[in-house]
Structure formats: structure tokens, C-alpha cells
Amino acid sequence: MLSNILRGSAMALRTTSMRTALRPSGASPALWSSLRLYSSSLNNDDIRCRVIDVVKAFDKTTASAQINADTHFAKDLGLDSLDTVELLVAIEEEFDVEIPDKVADEIKSVSQAVDYIASNPEAN
């Protein structure tokens, strides 16, 4: 009983803190929060831009590499499996979701990541 309550509050705490931390700059807070109650306000271009930004911020990617929607993590960026895992965790953090291991194994390029995020209703 008690542990249940604690767990519940911990979950609530985590989601709220994540939400405030990850709110993208630009949209006004009030507008953003009211939007996010009804639907995920993400469109594909938006997601793509953010994923690409995350990939660019990764210091193990080759700096000169041009990153676009078709970029393949291993082939184009020269990432090994551990690097890919780090990148996927970063993408998870960016969109405040947790990608299950089975799905994550299949994500090998920017476009696949974008597709997954777009299909996930909890992403924001």
C-alpha cells in the first residue's frame, strides 16, 4: 500500500520534471501545455530536425558528415553498436520516451528513428 503510493508519486514526479525540462524553446509554455493534453503536436519535419540536431550534437559522429533523413548510423556516421546505443538513448531523452529494446535494435538510421517517434503517441 505504502510502497504503491510512493511509486505512484515518483512516477508523477518524474514525468512532470521531464516535461518541464524538455519543453522546446520557442513555443510559449501555456500554449504548449494546453496542446500537449489533446494530442502530440509533433509533425514529421519537426521530429526530423530535432533528431538531426541530436545526431549533430554527438561528439563521436564524423564532423564533416552531412546529416539528412537517410543517414545511416553505422554506414554513414561510422558508429559502432555501443555508439548507436548512446545515440538512441539521447533520442529517447530528447523526446521523453523509452524505446523498448526490441524496437531499438531495428532503428539504424535517422529516418527509422523519425518514423518510430512519429508513431509513438507519448513522444513530445
Binding site: D53, A57, F58, S81, L82, V85, E86, V89, E93, D101
Partner: protein, 165 residues
């Protein structure tokens, strides 16, 4: 089989480390920004003083005017920057060292490997729960992270007084 296990363990570890280090990194960056801003403001004031004293004698030096302008711009930039939105925060910045520690002398025997993986999973769990614990402690004790000024203000407000501005 074991490689996918290693990957998923590594993922748990990275995930927990990124989450737990994020907040402290954000505060650190904010502190740094503040320091930088104070420094720049100090420089700016010094420059302005110099200009004021020079002004009487010589006409305005275009070089110092430009410098002043640049300083103002930099301060504005720092003021508007938001460290929380940086994408680099999503990465654990010391992962090569971490990998070195984890994967050195990785033995090939099944039991030893399983033991090592279990240890890493425990570690990831510990980091994650520690973060949750800290957040809860903070939430239940709001005064914990308040600075002195805020505390005084709130204490005064409790008895219907206001701290003079």
C-alpha cells in the same frame, strides 16, 4: 545472445547516467553563465568609465565604442541562452572511459560475464533509484534548496510581513 545482453545492459547504464547527470550539468552551466556575465558586465563598466573620463579630453575612440558594443552583445547572448535546451545534455560525456572500465579484461566464460552484467545492471538501478530518491527528498523538503534570501522572504510572508526590497 550475449552481445545483445551486453548492449541492453550498456543502454540501461547510459540511460541512468544521462538522466542523473543532466540536472547537475544544467545548474553548472547556469552558474558558469552567471559568472561569465558578471565578468563581462564588470569589463563593460570599466570601459564605460574610461570612456567617460576620456571624453572630456579627446573625441570618442571608434575602437572602444565597438568593443563596448561587442560586450553588450555578448552579455545579451548569454542572458538569452538556455543551457537546458542543449542537445549535448542527452549524451553521457565520459563514455569512452566508462567503456574502458566496463570492457577491460572481459572474460569469455559464461558465468563471469553474467556476473559482470548483473553487477552493471545493479549499478544502473542504483543510479536511477538514487536520482528518484533525491528528487523525492527535495520535493518533500522544499526549503532544502532555497537560498537564504528566499527563505527569509517566505518566513516573513508567513507572519504577514514583507521584506523591504
Amino acid at each position: 545472445m550475449s552481445s545483445s545482453q551486453i548492449l541492453s545492459t550498456y543502454k540501461q547504464l547510459i540511460r541512468s547516467l544521462v538522466k542523473s547527470s543532466k540536472r547537475s550539468r544544467i545548474t553548472q552551466m547556469q552558474e558558469n553563465n552567471k559568472k561569465q556575465m558578471a565578468l563581462l558586465t564588470y569589463k563593460k563598466i570599466g570601459l564605460m568609465r574610461q570612456q567617460a573620463s576620456n571624453n572630456a579630453a579627446v573625441s570618442k575612440n571608434p575602437h572602444s565604442v565597438r568593443e563596448l558594443h561587442e560586450l553588450t552583445k555578448k552579455i545579451e547572448e548569454l542572458k538569452s541562452s538556455n543551457p537546458g535546451s542543449l542537445k549535448t545534455l542527452h549524451f553521457y560525456n565520459n563514455s569512452s572511459r566508462l567503456r574502458q572500465i566496463i570492457f577491460q579484461d572481459l572474460s569469455s566464460s559464461e558465468t563471469a560475464l553474467n556476473k559482470r552484467l548483473q553487477h552493471l545492471r545493479d549499478f544502473a538501478g542504483f543510479v536511477k533509484n538514487q536520482l528518484e530518491f533525491e528528487q523525492l527528498v527535495e520535493r518533500y523538503n522544499p526549503g532544502l534548496k532555497m537560498d537564504q534570501e528566499e527563505k527569509v522572504k517566505r518566513t516573513a510572508a508567513k507572519v504577514g510581513l514583507q521584506v523591504p526590497a
